[in-house]
Symmetry: C2
Subunit: 206 residues, 2 copies
């Protein structure tokens, strides 16, 4: 994540400046475990979410900085306010891998399932954070079975990832989606709804 | 949009630094015009999306900077590659207004419809850009009629907004959603799907 670029444009004769953050494109994966009929999500502490909550409780928090421009927030709120439910996801930083292969690697790394590329179905792609990053996010659906679970998942602790794998039973998905006390990304709610419309009818037939 | 804060944390005995972007919380609104049975979206040029596309075509583009750290991208791609379809949306920057009132103001400003607060239905709230901003986004549904159209909309040109109001007929919504040649946010696709599940059955009964 780099925070520096500023682009200059001329719009209707006026010079305009935009600062924006360069980020990689990303993949995210709606994972459904057919053995136990549950969704597989990841839950992680998100500093940015935590800081938003902190600042809402204490708007002054960013005013005390050390000489490096760094602020040291004190623990004013429990860490749980920064914990977010998300789809398994990762950035696309290896141009030699297909999006599908990148997605499979993320599923193994974060959730511990070894999924063949053929099990992936592309849902669609979107632009995320259009005001800030504008990167492209491709959303996949992957069906997994207990027998594919070869690892515990959890991300790469050496890269600072502290990911918890969470299972949401199919019958709880609707209530989970609309429970605002459980912070989540739109991808989770969209994914569950897409599943209800596109996959659930097929499961019932099986 | 401020790009400076760096937060320092100690995780498992190691000092960690995160830079992140402070942004405001936001509202977005799925608007359906019942007079003409169409969705009302906004279409705008997004520098961040454009820059992503530019960089993909020319990875060197951010290397030439002037003494202010500013780069002047040359027009290597048509501006249309940066145009994105989005839900009407706005930031929450006036703490004296309710989220609903903020949403109504955005609908008038961007799309030209004067909607009573009572016409708004909250869908849910989400965390957006959890890796970068972590701000809370609240999604509403608003039904409008042609008779509520009191203004042309288009945003605030004096603040650099160049917004085009776009109508997507209900019968085209599905194909539009999954046409990847038309860049859009996940909010658009999620909103259309939510409408199909929650509002369309009621419309048919009417």
């Amino acid at each position: 994540m780099m925070c520096t670029p500023i682009a200059c444009w001329v719009v209707n004769g006026t010079k305009k400046f935009w600062d924006f953050m360069r980020t990689h494109d990303s993949v995210s994966i709606l994972i459904f475990n057919i053995t136990r009929q549950c969704f597989i999500l990841v839950k992680q502490f998100r500093p940015a979410v935590y800081m938003c909550e902190l600042e809402q409780h204490n708007p002054q928090i960013f005013q005390d900085k050390d000489m490096n421009g760094c602020c040291y927030p004190r623990d004013l709120l429990p860490a749980t306010v920064g914990v977010t439910y998300e789809l398994c996801a990762g950035i696309v930083d290896n141009p030699e891998l297909s999006l599908e292969q990148t997605a499979c690697n993320e599923i193994l790394e974060e959730c511990g399932y070894n999924v063949p590329v053929a099990n992936l179905k592309k849902i669609s792609s979107y632009r995320s954070g259009v005001g800030v990053t504008g990167s492209k996010q491709t959303l996949f659906y992957a069906e997994v079975m207990d027998s594919m679970k070869t690892d515990i998942g959890g991300g790469k602790p050496e890269e600072g990832e502290l990911i918890e794998v969470v299972e949401i039973p199919l019958e709880d998905a609707f209530n989970f989606s609309f429970d605002e006390n459980l912070p989540k990304t739109m991808g989770v709610v969209f994914g569950f709804m897409w599943f209800q419309n596109n996959i659930a009818p097929l499961l019932q037939k099986k």
